[in-house]
Amino acid sequence: MITIIDCGMGNLRSVAKAFEHIGKKTIITSDRKKILKSSLVVLPGVGSFTAAMTNLKKLNLTETVKNIITVGKPFLGLCLGLQILFEKSEEGNCLGLGIFHGKVRKFSYKRNLKIPHMGWNNIKLQITNYPSTLMSHDRTGKLQIFKDIPDNSFFYFVHSYYVEPKDKKIIATTTNYGINFASSVFYKNIFATQFHPEKSQKNGLKLLKNYVDYTGN
């Protein structure tokens, strides 16, 4: 069963609907036991880094999320669900889950850009050097989860902060908004995107389907 963690924020229904559209049932829950029993955990999130971490703590889910990730359960993070995997953010003083080294930074106003970064932008697929056992890819190094998704495809973004992973090898895609930033990361059982696949029309649905297939769900 695919579970979508309900932290009391954001539009979970659109995430659930996207899974339904590709033929997968989901449950939306904040129940620890159900989350631990599921075969794929989705953590969506909108709003602020601090609010997301505070809500996880309030629901006693911080350790649960850490656990499922470390035991290797398939995990999909969306938007803030990506950001809180890192150590800390420039948004507030709250610490993140620290699954990945690195921090979350704010886009700079200096570049004369509108903030939030809102709308459709391309993703540049990264070629991985990791062995196939850590990140499943084809001979050219293209990740399996991006099968049939062309390089530079458009995805929908809405965020003011971006992640800066210390280990550049986990970066699955980059996107340019004044700077090139990591728009998704992939490592072992974890896939997390800054963009919203559930709002990215055909490409987004395809990516969700690829990931679901990849995790055997």
């Binding site: 924020m9 954001g10 539009n11 229904r13 659109s14 609907k17 996207a18 339904e20 559209h21 909108v46 709003g47 602020s48 609010a51 106003y109 509108k114 903030i115 939030p116 970064h117 809102m118 709308g119 459709w120 932008n121 391309n122 458009f154 929908y156 973004f157 809405v158 965020h159 003011s160 340019n176 908004y177 559930e198 709002k199 990215s200 029309q201 055909k202 987004g204 649905l205």
Partner: protein, 262 residues
């Protein structure tokens, strides 16, 4: 590269799409779910529903429309009209909207913007500004300066608030985006109010959606270049198939505007 967005807007009255001129003379333009699906296919980057249902009892129809739409299309959906408190916002988000748009409630109680942004995040709070140009005699004689004032209640009530100042204030309060409608241009089809759009877009750091006056593809080009808009909205132009989103996007792309072609 971040692309400029093309957003069709559907005015909805008792569950049906309608369109009028200068906020009046409504005529029927179809079933919203079907129209939204068509726009999604044509390449719309987002969709906006504006509920103009006057009768309170029939307000709930919009919830059903949003639910059915969210089951069928997977691009961002904004819903505005009659949203007055946090409960209304939650209802819309639960039905499947990604953003909500507020106007009158924000003007009457600016703290509402702050509360909504804190509760649901700035990304889902769009503040709609309906602006109309005013000319003061003094300005005409001395130093001619364009000014716009904010209207509420669907363009029926003048507030006397300066549109540029208001835009800056809503940004500070946590709005994630501004939907800027020129009441002078709305329904005229002779182009967006470029001056107004540029003034507001330069005054704030959040994205601005230009609205009101789109009549041909060149108007969109003007809004994105001289008007510095981040997105452009149109309604009747798309409803009555006078211009297809596909053709418009191809034209803009050829003119060198960053556009998502799909």
């Amino acid at each position: 590269m971040l692309t400029k967005r093309i957003i069709p807007c559907l005015d909805i009255d008792k569950g049906r799409v309608v369109k009028g001129t200068k906020f009046l003379n409504l005529r029927d333009a179809g079933n919203p779910v079907e129209v939204a699906k068509r726009y999604d296919k044509e390449g719309a980057d987002e969709i906006i529903f504006l509920d103009i249902t006057a009768s309170y009892q029939k307000r709930k129809t919009i919830i059903d429309v949003v639910k059915k739409t969210a089951e069928n299309i997977f691009i961002p959906l904004t819903v505005g009209g009659g949203i007055r408190n946090l409960h209304d916002i939650r209802e819309m988000l639960k039905a499947g909207a990604d953003k909500i748009s507020i106007n009158t409630a924000a003007v009457e109680n600016p703290e509402f913007i702050d509360a909504a942004a804190k509760k649901f995040g700035s990304q889902c709070v769009v503040v709609a500004i309906d602006a109309k140009q005013v000319r003061s005699k003094k300005n005409l004689i001395n130093n001619f300066q364009l000014k716009w004032e904010v209207y509420t209640y669907g363009g029926r009530k003048l507030t006397g608030i300066d549109a540029v100042k208001w835009a800056k204030k809503v940004e500070k309060l946590g709005a994630g985006e501004i939907l800027l409608t020129s009441m002078d241009k709305d329904g005229t089809k002779n182009g967006y109010d470029i001056e107004l759009t540029r003034k507001i877009s330069e005054a704030v750091k959040i994205p601005v959606i230009a609205s009101g006056g789109a009549g041909k593809k060149e108007h969109f080009y003007e809004a994105f270049t001289n008007g510095k808009a981040d997105a452009a909205l149109a309604a009747s132009l798309f409803h009555y198939k006078e211009l297809s989103i596909k053709k418009l996007k191809r034209y803009l792309s050829q003119k060198g505007v960053a556009i998502r072609i799909c």
